[in-house]
C-alpha cells in the first residue's frame, strides 16, 4: 500500500515536470530561435542552433533605444494616476490615522482602496 502510493507520487511528479516543460516549450523555442541566424530560423524552427549567433541581440540593441524606452516606462508609471493616487493615499492614511481612531466607521472603503490600487497596477503592467 505504502510503496504503491509512493510510486504513484513519483509518477505524478515526473508527469507534472514534463507537463511544465511542455508548457514552457514556446518560451524555450523563442529563446533558441533568438540565437539563430535568420536563414536557420526559416529552414528549421525546432532545431538547436548550429552555432550561436548573437547578431540579433546587437542589432536590436542598436536599433531600439532600450534605456530611453525603459525611462519612458518609468516616467509613465510614476505619473500615471495609479501611483499618484496610491502615493497620496498612503500619505493620507498617515494623516487620517488619528481621526480613524476617534471615529471607527470613518471611511470603510479607505483600506480596501489603498490595497486594490497596487494590485490593479501590477495586473495592468503585467498585461501590457
Amino acid at each position: 500500500m505504502n510503496t504503491n502510493r509512493k510510486a504513484g507520487r513519483i509518477i505524478l511528479e515526473v508527469v507534472m515536470v514534463i507537463l511544465s516543460l511542455l508548457f514552457l516549450y514556446p518560451l524555450f523555442l523563442t529563446i533558441i530561435n533568438s540565437l539563430k541566424s535568420f536563414s536557420e530560423v526559416m529552414t528549421d524552427v525546432i532545431a538547436l542552433p548550429k552555432h550561436l549567433v548573437f547578431g540579433n541581440y546587437s542589432y536590436v540593441w542598436k536599433f531600439i533605444n532600450y534605456p530611453k524606452l525603459f525611462l519612458n516606462n518609468f516616467v509613465i508609471r510614476c505619473r500615471s494616476s495609479g501611483y499618484c493616487v496610491h502615493f497620496i493615499h498612503s500619505s493620507l492614511q498617515a494623516g487620517t490615522d488619528e481621526i480613524q481612531t476617534e471615529r471607527g466607521d470613518l471611511f470603510p472603503l479607505h483600506y480596501a482602496d489603498a490595497d486594490s490600487v497596487p494590485i490593479d497596477h501590477a495586473d495592468r503592467s503585467a498585461n501590457r
Binding site: 507534472m16 516543460l21 525546432i46
Partner: protein, 296 residues
C-alpha cells in the same frame, strides 16, 4: 453642546481637506473623462473636428438596430468569456490541487506555470503567432502528426480555439496562485474528520475543499470575467481580427470603429454600452457567488 458641534465641524473640514487631493486626482483621471465620454457618445465626431455634432441617442439606436459587426463581436465575446472562465478556473483548480500535494518539484512547477503571466500579452501573441505558423510547420514535419498541419490561425473555428488557448496559457498562473492560497487556508482537521467518517478523495474534494474554496472561486471568476469581456491585445497580435473578421471581440470592434474608422462618437457609444454590460454582469456575478460562500 456648541463646543462638541464645533469639534465635529472641525473634524469634518479636516477630513475633507485630507481627502480633497485624492478627490481631485480621481476626478481629473476618471470622473471628468467619464462625463465627457457620455457627452461624446451622443455626438457624431471624427476625433479631429472642433465641433462634434450633437445627434442625441442616434448612435445607440444604430448600434442596436443595424450593426452586424457589433452583434458578431458581442457573440464572439460571450462565447469566449464563458469558455475562458470555465476552462481557466477548472484547469487552475486541478493544477492547484496537484501543486498543493507537497511534491518535491512544487517550487519549480509554481514558477513554471507562473512565468507566462509576467510576459505582456502582445508579446505572447507574437510568440504564439510565430509558433502557430513556422513552429507548427517544423513540428509537423518532424513528428508527422496531422494536428500540426491544420491552419490554426486561418480557419474561423480554429482561430477562436487558438485565441482561447493562448490566453489561458498566459493567465493560468495567476489563477493558480489564487487557488493555491485558497487551498492552503482549508483547515486540515476538517479533511481528517472527513477521512475518519469514511469519505473518499472525491467526496472530500466536493464536500469540503470545494465549498471552502468558494471565496477564491468568487475572486477568480470575477477577474476572469472582467478580463475576458475586455479581451483585446491577444487578438490584436495573434489574428488581427481575422480570418475574415471572425475574431473581433467587443473591445477590438470599439478600437476598429474609433481609431481606424475615425468614428469617435460612435465608438464611445459602444464603449459605454460595454461598460454598462461589464458593470451589470460583474455585480450579478459577485452577488450570486457571494451568496454561495460558506464559513469553515
Amino acid at each position: 453642546m456648541l463646543k462638541s458641534l464645533g469639534k465635529r465641524w472641525r473634524e469634518k473640514t479636516e477630513f475633507g481637506l485630507f481627502t480633497l487631493p485624492v478627490l481631485i486626482c480621481i476626478a481629473v483621471a476618471f470622473y471628468i473623462p467619464f462625463a465627457m465620454t457620455i457627452r461624446y457618445s451622443m455626438t457624431k465626431w471624427n476625433g479631429i473636428s472642433k465641433h462634434p455634432k450633437f445627434v442625441g441617442l442616434d448612435n445607440f439606436k444604430q448600434i442596436f438596430m443595424g450593426d452586424t459587426n457589433f452583434a458578431n463581436s458581442a457573440w464572439f465575446t460571450i462565447k469566449y468569456a464563458i469558455l475562458y472562465i470555465v476552462l481557466v478556473n477548472v484547469l487552475a483548480i486541478l493544477l492547484a490541487l496537484v501543486l498543493d500535494m507537497k511534491l518535491k518539484s512544487t517550487p519549480w512547477l509554481r514558477a513554471a506555470f507562473f512565468i507566462p503571466y509576467i510576459l505582456s500579452l502582445v508579446i505572447v501573441g507574437f510568440i504564439w503567432k510565430f509558433i502557430f505558423m513556422q513552429g507548427f510547420n517544423s513540428l509537423g514535419e518532424s513528428t508527422g502528426w496531422s494536428i500540426f498541419g491544420l491552419s490554426w490561425l486561418g480557419t474561423p473555428g480554429l482561430a477562436f480555439v487558438s485565441i482561447l488557448a493562448v490566453s489561458i496559457w498566459q493567465s493560468i498562473g495567476f489563477y493558480l496562485v489564487i487557488y493555491i492560497v485558497g487551498l492552503q487556508s482549508v483547515p486540515e482537521d476538517l479533511k481528517e474528520a472527513a477521512t475518519v467518517d469514511g469519505a473518499g478523495p472525491m467526496r472530500k474534494f466536493f464536500s469540503i475543499t470545494l465549498p471552502l474554496l468558494a471565496p477564491s472561486i468568487t475572486i477568480s471568476v470575477f477577474m476572469a470575467l472582467t478580463n475576458s469581456i475586455k479581451v483585446f491585445d491577444v487578438i490584436l497580435s495573434l489574428t488581427g481580427g481575422g480570418p475574415g473578421g471572425t475574431t473581433y471581440s467587443i473591445a477590438y470592434d470599439i478600437y476598429r470603429d474609433t481609431f481606424q474608422n475615425n468614428l469617435y462618437g460612435y465608438g464611445t457609444a459602444k464603449a459605454l454600452i460595454l461598460f454598462l454590460a461589464v458593470l451589470v454582469v460583474t455585480i450579478l456575478q459577485l452577488a450570486f457567488f457571494k451568496r454561495r460562500e460558506v464559513e469553515a
